[in-house]
Each structure stands twice: as structure tokens, then as C-alpha cells.
Amino acid sequence: MKVTVKYFAVCHEMLNRSEEEMQLPEGATVRTILKRLEEEWPEIAEFYEVMQMSVNWEYATEDTELSEGDEVALIPPVTGGTDV
């Protein structure tokens, strides 16, 4: 199956792209994507702890199962609103 993966903010900078299509095996989960990114760029794994993931605009876990056409995103720590 094919999913779209989106990278924002620091992830965008780290991976040098904002979005890509990924071909995944049946039964793939969010973890499948994280492992694939780690192979490409090992340093990204240290940020996984502080990051969240989303599937189709909803927060997801590493175990969330994926389906054809899903939109997955890596969500760095949110800093919208204001600091004050």
C-alpha cells in the first residue's frame, strides 16, 4: 500500500523534504515508517521520544495500523499559541 508522509519544522529540516510517498507492506504500522526513516538518518531516532505521530489528522501511536492512502505526519513538539 501507498501512504503519504509529511515532515514539519525540524523534521522537514533534518530530512530535507516536506513530504513523500512511501510504499509499505500490508499490515504496516506507524512504527514501520519510523524504522525506515531511522535507517536513512540514524540521528532522527533520538527525537522520536519527544515527537508525536498523526494518521489522517489524528494523533496516533507507533502501533496504529495504516491503510492505503493514509496521510501520516511526524509532529515535533508543538509550540503554537504563545510562550507567555
Binding site: K6, F8, A9, V10, H12, E13, F47, V50, S54, W57, E58, Y59, A73, I75, P76, P77, V78, T79, G80, G81, T82, D83, V84
Partner: protein
Amino acid sequence: MFKITDKIITGSEVREAVAAPDAGAIVLFLGTVRNNTDGKAVQHLEYEAYPPMAEKKMAEIAQEISDKWGIHRVAMIHRVGKLEIGEVSVAVAVASPHRKDGFKACKYAMNRLKQIVPIWKREVWTDGEAGWVKPDAVFFET
């Protein structure tokens, strides 16, 4: 109205969105770009968002406020792109029959916005350095 925009925010968008003849109290919060963060001089800010998810999460916060206080008129807008000192990054308006609940709901909206709405801030300091910040800390210098 739950919106990500790259245009200047005046506050009147959200205020007009919540106005109603039976609501006597409007509480409006504006977050503006400060000239410093913990004493470090800021040159400008850059905000990035995941718009569809951000707008969905804003609507969820409004639903939480409706459930908690029975207040149905909430609007939020957040700007993205480059922002200069003094410009508004975020505006939240709440219209309510009672002002006490309006203050509570507006404060709640801001707190939740920082927690769950996917928007990120990159600070560019006057020393030429820059970094993505996370709550209360620089997250990743670039």
C-alpha cells in the same frame, strides 16, 4: 472560525466571528511577538503549521469548551510565515453570556492550543542564530 493564515491578524476576524446579540461578554486573547525570549533578543519569528490538522484540533478545543461551559461561540486563528516584533501570532475570541466563564474558556483555549495544535515556532535571534523552540526551551538549533 478555526483558521491558519499567512495574513496579518488584527483580532477583529475572531471577534466578528463570535459576535451574537445574546452574548454580552467577549474575551479576546492576542499573542504578539516579543522582542525577547528569556532575555535573548529576538529579530523575528517564523511559524509553520500542519493546517488541516491544526484547524481540526482547534475545532476540537471549541467542542471541549462547549462541553465544559456550554459556550458555543469560540474562534481561533493562528498565523504562519515570518512575523515581526509586535505582530499578532494568535488570536482567540470567546463570546459568552457570562464574563467569568468567558475568561476561563479563553484561557483554556490558549492552554490547549499550545498542547495539541500542530504549529511550530522558529526563533531568529539578533545574533544571527536561529532555532526551533519547544515549550520553554530551544529544541533544535539550525
